[in-house]
């Protein structure tokens, strides 16, 4: 213990009483937290800028690129759900493909067999995936560590096997072409087959998902979840029953995986058994880790990197798997915080350089701002 303890005197004890005459001198808990949250405003601004700027994408990039971006976003939302669960609860799920696939198939089934408005059809699909996540969460959430990863893997595979046997509904590996009908958000849903038409919705879903998770992480509940992740037993002895909050977190993550599943169906009108296979979860997990799970920006960023990589390597013998594997290995060894961590380090190096040449602001200022916004978003 440092000198501070030996200096503890009756004076400190006086301070221990609820002092109503003077505010307690020195740093306070609330003050420290406020200080730590300074960046929140910049992050919110960064998000807003990104959200609005992203809407303009169809005017900037080509149709093909837009199509890729759309794929990246569907994958990004799934990665976001897995990454957020990992970050917030420390639990690694290999079973999210089940929720993704169940939502997709649920939507397809309802669209074919019931005459519901398209909005309700999609909601029903998402509800199916969410319900599955709730059930899985209820039975698995107490299981610790790697056992949880394997348990979710086993459940995911059970769903996959079941999907294979329900061939009349799923059409197996050949897949199912789904004709959605009706009007969604003022447009005929068929229009969403066109990436330009679909873009505002796709982009909006991603941005809203990021915002919701960002807010949840910072809420009282989110901080409690992080505390449970850090030390579940201590949290129980701080008077918090830890079961339901974790079930809820798993379910929230399942909602997002379901949203990704429905989004996939709306934009591609196609789903196959592959959606349920564990590699769908595995790939989304890798993407999330490469992007960085510590921020809500990481998983979508990882998905974009993945799609770019896959597309870039498609011409040269399609070695994206090997490259992806190597990237993952390098990331785990060198930058466990993922690509976002690399960006942060780069930003830190940049600011220190700017600080050295403080005399010459000029052209470096705009870079500073955009990077700042991006980094703020990354936190």
């Amino acid at each position: 213990m440092t000198s501070s303890t030996t200096e503890m005197t009756a004076g400190d004890l006086a301070g221990a009483q609820p002092a109503d005459d003077l505010p307690t001198p020195g740093p306070t808990v609330a003050g420290t937290l406020r200080h730590a949250r300074r960046s929140a405003r910049w992050q919110a601004v960064g998000w807003l800028v990104l959200a609005i700027a992203g809407l303009g994408a169809p005017w900037v990039i080509s149709l093909y690129q837009l199509q890729l971006a759309q794929q990246a976003i569907v994958m990004g939302v799934l990665a976001l759900s897995i990454g957020w669960l990992l970050r917030q609860t420390g639990q690694l799920s290999f079973g999210h493909a089940a929720f993704y696939g169940i939502a997709g198939y649920g939507t397809a089934y309802v669209a074919e067999h019931a005459d519901l408005p398209i909005g309700l059809t999609l909601l029903t699909g998402i509800a199916c995936g969410t319900l599955a996540a709730l059930v899985v969460g209820l039975i698995t959430i107490r299981v610790p560590g790697i056992a949880f990863a394997m348990l979710t893997l086993a459940i995911g595979m059970l769903v996959w096997v079941a999907g294979g046997q329900l061939h009349s509904i799923t059409r197996g590996a050949d897949g199912l072409n789904v004709q959605l009908e009706g009007s969604l958000l003022g447009k005929d849903v068929v229009m969403y087959g066109n990436p330009v038409e679909a873009w505002p919705v796709v982009w909006g879903v991603l941005m809203i998902s990021m915002a919701v998770l960002w807010i949840l992480s910072r809420s009282t509940w989110g901080r409690r979840l992080a505390s449970i992740r850090d030390n579940e037993e201590r949290m129980r002895f701080s008077g918090y029953a830890t079961y339901w909050p974790r079930v809820l977190a798993f379910t929230v993550s399942g909602v997002l995986a379901s949203v990704a599943g429905s989004l996939n169906l709306v934009t591609t009108s196609f789903i196959s058994l592959n959606a349920l296979f564990w590699s769908t979860s595995g790939l989304a997990l890798i993407v999330a880790v490469i992007g960085g799970v510590r921020s809500v920006l990481g998983p979508p960023l990882g998905a974009v990197l993945f799609i770019l990589l896959q597309n870039y390597l498609a011409g040269s013998g399609n070695h994206y798997q090997a490259v992806l594997g190597v990237v993952l290995i390098v990331m785990v060894l060198v930058a466990p915080g993922g690509f976002v961590e690399i960006l942060e380090r780069g930003f830190a190096a940049l600011t220190s350089r700017i600080r050295i040449r403080r005399g010459v602001p000029g052209s470096s200022t705009p870079t500073h701002q955009t990077r700042g916004a991006r980094r703020a978003e990354a936190r």
Binding site: I139, P144, L153, A162, L285, A322, L328
Partner: protein
């Protein structure tokens, strides 16, 4: 019926060789090696090339050694850096290896299914009195059981085996007692990879080689290790034979349900005694 039992036994022995490697690595490094299936697959393909050019026997000898060396390298330049990080980082690392190996296999050997011809001595069938049975499968059963008996003896009797058990129990204490944990770990990872390699070679003339073979068997191996208890060596051995048998019998008796059986088994075991797999060391 006897043939079914023997089929189950042959598959069980294969699982046994694979899962003891997985269990060893888990016990010592605390790593659930997701690359285990990929290593097995790589071994089968390398054995294909070697036995095409020379003979199956040379493949049987060299491939496990080659993969053991690969294991040494992965331990030295990968896993060792991750000691003290969460077990999930190690999972992700081995997951990355899976992707690389899958790509290598597809690039070098293509995606169509292949088979290895068993050596002439083992090609036919043997009359067991009550049934005739492919000789090669009998050979797989014999070799697998021999290797596992050897492994058990090594763990029980040798000095290194004692160290393996000691540092598997408690890294810190073992380290303090003068066990060179890093060296024991390297030995064990190499051994685990070597065993996966052996399983791959053995599987070559018996099962079909395809780029999906690694993933398929990986999940079954996980199930074996989970059911048998991660961190123990004897448990998975019994579980491997059991699951091999159940698998073979269920496929014949109730083919629709057979596909569910292993996953349900894993589910039930994990829910009822997660400590069987999680043990003391894996809890996050």
């Amino acid at each position: 019926m006897f043939v079914q039992v023997l089929n189950g036994l042959a598959f069980g022995v294969l699982l046994l060789v694979l899962s003891s490697g997985l269990a060893l690595i888990f016990g010592l490094r605390g790593v659930v090696n997701f690359a285990h299936g990929a290593i097995y697959m790589l071994a089968a393909y390398v054995a294909l090339s070697i036995s095409d050019r020379t003979s199956f026997w040379i493949a049987l000898l060299t491939v496990p050694i080659l993969l053991a060396l690969a294991g040494l390298l992965i331990d030295r330049y990968g896993l060792r850096f991750l000691v003290g990080r969460t077990p999930l980082d190690m999972v992700l690392l081995t997951f990355g290896i899976t992707f690389v190996v899958a790509d290598v296999v597809q690039t070098v050997w293509g995606t169509e299914a292949r088979t290895i011809d068993p050596p002439a001595v083992l090609a036919g069938t043997t009359d067991l009195g009550f049934a005739t049975y492919p000789t090669y499968r009998l050979f797989v059963i014999a070799i697998g059981l021999l290797v596992c008996a050897g492994l058990m003896a090594w763990l029980k009797l040798s000095r290194t085996g004692l160290f393996v058990r000691a540092s598997g129990d408690d890294r810190v204490t073992a380290g303090a007692m003068g066990v060179n944990v890093d060296r024991v770990s390297a030995t064990v990872v190499a051994l685990g990879f070597g065993l996966a390699g052996l399983a791959g070679v053995l599987a070559g003339p018996y099962l079909t080689l395809s780029p999906a073979m690694g993933t398929e068997i990986l999940i079954t191996t996980f199930i074996v290790v989970v059911v048998g208890g991660l961190g123990s060596i004897g448990g998975p051995m019994i579980a491997a034979l059991l699951i091999g048998l159940v698998n073979a019998l269920a496929t014949v008796q109730a083919p629709t349900l057979a596909a569910y059986v292993p996953y349900l088994l894993m589910l039930v075991v994990l829910l009822l005694r997660p400590q069987g797999i999680a043990g003391r060391r894996t809890a996050l």
